[in-house]
Subunit: 275 residues, 2 copies
């Protein structure tokens, strides 16, 4: 068992395509959780094939929002993830941010490195860890490595792999409404029973603190709970056949709504007039 | 209240893009329900802007499958829906099939016509009514006229209108997985409480007989049941704000699975080894 998550830092898990030019609601909240105008932010570009461009873009927006320092951590090869200079940046950071790209690149480069150990140590010490798109997918212990977005649930529609493991018992899918990924997430959850699915729309995020999750941004988060399903056909399915499942529970949560990961109960925004 | 649906003919409601060249599983079942090699099929092209092409295509496939007669009913203007020649075709048909296109065209042309009355009379007398894509959307009493497919639930993401009403207490959305329409269907269902949602994938259909629904085809049908939801924010929502809903129930049903519209319970295929 992992230790209590209560002592860990917050997570900001973004469904991709977050606003970087107008109110910057989500990135603004990330900077606030990283210490506001005292924030030292390390931007990890491991996921992207365009690390220079991604680094410049996030340097611009985090600096514009008032962070005291923004450092870009490029890890193009696994060796880079053991580089003393890069480790020093993360050791001093008050917030770490994973860019988008391909989630498998992050795991390939960071897995079993000193950087991986240090990221977990810093998170346990309380710093915020954020990520968008591929940087959101890697947050869980098991992640969706790749998969066809647009089909109904199929056994071969999704490929699972190890994630970075900042959050346990959860599976994250991103660009959720925009890419019609319900089928892909349902399939992944049948392969990983007891895990809760979070389908995060673009320009939308969940902020996780302890067992509490709050939604921020323009879209919604679809919480997919398969814990009370009464039937699925996984045991008799061949590879290209369609899955069946009875009794999946969904909650659609827009800005301000909360969800408790332990009790699996959603709740309305504080101060809401609606019961 | 509408009369008992037990006495009515079957419905074959297809999510669009059904196979017309290989096994033709769905259209084959439609022809079988229309009387097999004795079938007289009327193809209604009201939905499409290309009625000639659609008529030729369905004439080819239904004839190929062995139907005794296939007649095309073109109704480009509302007057056509009162034409004695066209009404005679429907009066003699053992099955009626609505092509795809734009569901609003069907309602505009057929509503309040002699054709509308006759279609309901023939259906009550027991003939099968089928439809694909737009021809599936019109099956219900209230239908999704149009709406943005790819967003999360938004109050303005969907426009509802009157359907043909062959099936009550149900709302149909088509091309479901392929166009990522969960958000659109969830929104429509919040606007039409007590109605059950059927999200039908391409090359997939439900065959409705009495209260019993069976899935056929390559994809799956997503049954969306909002009857046990514990909260939604519809009453306080402005037009461009994201919807919230707690506790939607989903069943994903591939080929051979059944669902009872009265009890709202899914069931596994007969002879299945899985409980």
């Amino acid at each position: 068992m992992s230790e209590s998550i209560e002592s860990k830092g917050p997570l900001v898990i973004i469904g991709g395509a977050e606003d970087k030019h107008e109110n910057c609601t989500i990135l603004r909240e990330f900077v606030r959780l990283a210490g506001g105008i005292d924030a030292h932010i390390a931007v990890l570009t491991a996921a992207t094939a365009y690390p220079q461009e991604a680094g410049i873009e996030y340097d611009r927006v985090f600096s514009h929002l008032g962070a005291a320092a923004v450092d870009i951590v490029h890890t193009e090869e696994p060796d880079d993830a053991n580089s003393p200079q890069l480790l020093e940046i993360v050791a001093d950071a008050t917030g770490v941010f994973f860019t988008g790209g391909d989630q498998s690149r992050v795991i390939r480069v960071v897995q079993d490195s000193l950087l991986e150990d240090l990221l977990h140590k810093r998170h346990r010490e309380g710093i915020v860890v954020g990520g968008t798109s591929a940087g959101a997918a890697i947050m869980s212990e098991v992640m969706i490595a790749e998969g066809d977005s647009t089909t109904h649930p199929y056994l071969n529609a999704v490929e699972m792999s190890k994630g970075m493991g900042f959050l346990s018992q959860v599976l994250v899918d991103q660009h959720f409404a925009q890419r019609g990924r319900l089928g892909r997430l349902l399939t992944a959850l049948l392969l990983e029973p007891h895990v809760l699915g979070l389908g995060i729309d673009e320009n939308t995020a969940v902020v996780v603190q302890g067992d509490d999750l709050e939604v921020i941004g323009a879209g919604a988060v679809t919480v997919v709970d398969e814990s009370e399903t009464s039937h699925n056909n996984l045991s008799r399915l061949l590879k290209d056949e369609a899955m069946a499942v009875f009794g999946v529970k969904l909650h659609i949560l827009p800005h301000g709504y909360r969800f408790n990961l332990k009790t699996r109960q959603p709740s309305v925004p504080e101060g809401s007039l609606v019961p």
